[in-house]
């Protein structure tokens, strides 16, 4: 077990290195170079030269690469060209908002998605299954911003139940009210994913021999479903939900933009609009590192819950 944990953690290192290499290449895709892209074609040769020196773009590519990787690995993700703050400071400023949103969405997604998936699996090919499958298919098809805009129109503009803009507020009640729509939007998308995974995972488990044995022994249907089936179906559900983390981040970026909510989404949008390539590059590294860590953690949790995984390796 400990051997597996160490192996799995070591495996994350080449992944991190490869990710850094890819970001490095991506940033060099800019036509011309980043300095021209940031300042425009009409900037004077001197200004361009200064910026290149500042960004290290006047160095040979291998030197740039080594510097980039060592900087990133030592936790120096660069500095925003517009605000002057480091990327980590920028992220730390908005991270609480995004985390709050993501956690609320995960909560909604789990509370709605798992029961929906279980019902669909238990009532397979009957109307609850069809309703649940259609709902989750529709949920999967919504780009985060489309569902967000439709909700905004319905609840904030037409019904006027909730505020259009979600600003941070000291008053807990109005804070919660402004979190409601974005969290619901993101939560319903997560519900669709989780319901789908729960359904197929439950169907797999319900086909196993031990379920039949338990049923033959006279275990009550409710206990059979909740304890014997769902208990085991949860493992793949946790893994897949971990894998959807990237989707969750992408959708939360869109959700934040629609609801003009502070967070990573607005940060990225701002970096795009001001052509702040160092900030973009740093954000990309932070995001991908985050996803790699979550994936590693998911694998470890999986091994912890299901001993077969670590023995198989």
């Amino acid at each position: 077990m400990i051997g597996y944990v160490i192996r799995r953690l070591l495996l994350a290192i080449p992944t991190l290195l490869a990710m850094l290499t890819m970001v490095f290449i991506l940033v060099r895709l800019v036509p011309g170079d980043a300095a021209v892209a940031m300042l425009g074609d009409r900037a004077s040769a001197q200004t361009l030269q200064n910026l290149r020196a500042q960004l290290g773009l006047d160095q040979p590519i291998p030197v740039q690469y080594v510097r980039f990787v060592t900087d990133m690995l030592s936790g120096d993700f660069g500095r925003s060209m517009t605000s002057g703050r480091t990327v980590m400071e920028e992220v730390a400023l908005v991270l609480p908002y995004t985390l709050e949103l993501a956690l609320a969405a995960m909560l909604i997604g789990t509370l709605l998605g798992i029961p929906l998936g279980v019902v669909a699996a238990v009532r397979r090919n009957r109307w609850p299954d069809y309703v649940s499958r259609i709902l989750s298919l529709v949920g999967l098809s919504f780009p985060g911003f489309v569902s967000g805009i439709l909700m905004l129109l319905a609840f904030a503009v037409w019904l006027q139940w909730l505020p259009v803009m979600s600003r941070a507020s000291a008053d807990p009640l109005s804070h919660l009210r402004s979190l409601a729509l974005p969290a619901l939007n993101l939560g319903l998308i997560m519900t669709a994913y989780i319901a789908r995974v729960t359904r197929s995972s439950m169907l797999d488990v319900m086909g196993e021999d031990y379920i039949r044995t338990a049923r033959a022994k006279g275990v009550k249907p409710r206990k059979l479903i909740m304890r014997h089936a769902l208990g085991n179906a949860l493992i793949p559900i946790v893994t897949v939900v971990g894998l959807y983390f990237g989707t969750l981040i992408g959708n939360s970026v869109l959700t934040e933009i629609v609801f003009t909510r502070p967070g990573l989404g607005k940060l990225i949008l701002g970096a795009l609009q001001s052509r702040d390539y160092t900030l973009l590059q740093g954000l990309m590294v932070v995001f991908a590192t985050f996803v790699i860590l979550v994936n590693t953690a998911t694998d470890l949790i999986y091994a912890l819950v299901d001993p077969r995984v670590s023995y198989a390796q």
């Binding site: 098809s141 780009p143 795009l272």
Partner: protein
Amino acid sequence: MTDFAISQSMPARQSSPVLRALRRNRFAWLGIGLLALIVLVAIFAPIIAPYDPLKQNILHRLSPPSADFWFGTDSYGRDVLSRLLYGARISLAIGFLSVLIAMVVGSALGILAGYIGGVFDQIVMGIVDVMLSFPTLLLGLMVAAMLGASFENLIIAIAITETAPFARVARAPTIAMKRRDFVEAGRSLGYTPLHIMRVHILPNILSDIVVVASLWMASAIRTEASLAFIGLGVLPPTATWGGMIREGFDNILSAWWLVVFPSLAILLAVLALNILGDALRDAIDPKTRSQG
């Protein structure tokens, strides 16, 4: 004689049971019907569209849906319906071409990795894992921002985000196929590895790849619309669904039709592809084939 032995041990072409299963699946027909409708609309947009999608008419700006303008007009007085119809062309073209590129490159990589194995396999799959660790939207956003948003660059950006899943899907069955008798037989007959991969392996894993392709085309259309909404779409005044929502978002309080109709168009296209992909997957997976 040898040919006979090989053809006997080859798995039967899977297309007929799949087609049969599809025919019985009502969901599949819904998906195919919706998709056909959108494709037809895209092809015949110049004939169906009541107005020129780029023609501005300040006198009619921001008029709500009416008999003259079924879906209303935008802040430049352009007809929303005509722009929607033309927008279908961009969404479908970018979705289709990016997935086509991702499919060809990704499956080629996956088959090669699975067939050759060893260090090559480890390197390719290592890269694939890294690609998968970037959230799709953010990777697309990054590439589009670096290359600059244009029709071609968006196709490249979205193709890059979707290559890795195809490599994954192609690799696993290739490894399974490699051990099958008919591949062994082909090898002992002296066929080149390329021939074996193309003639003996590819046709047998094609159905898996096609299922993934329809699901990823749904994702590609979603990504394109999202990028356009963020401001990284095909440049205006070209009509794109995501771009229309972006423009309409400023007037959301007064002119709901600017965002609602393009939203429904995106939802319809993505839903059609998802329904079709789901039905195809059910049809191919023997575990679920008997249930409609």
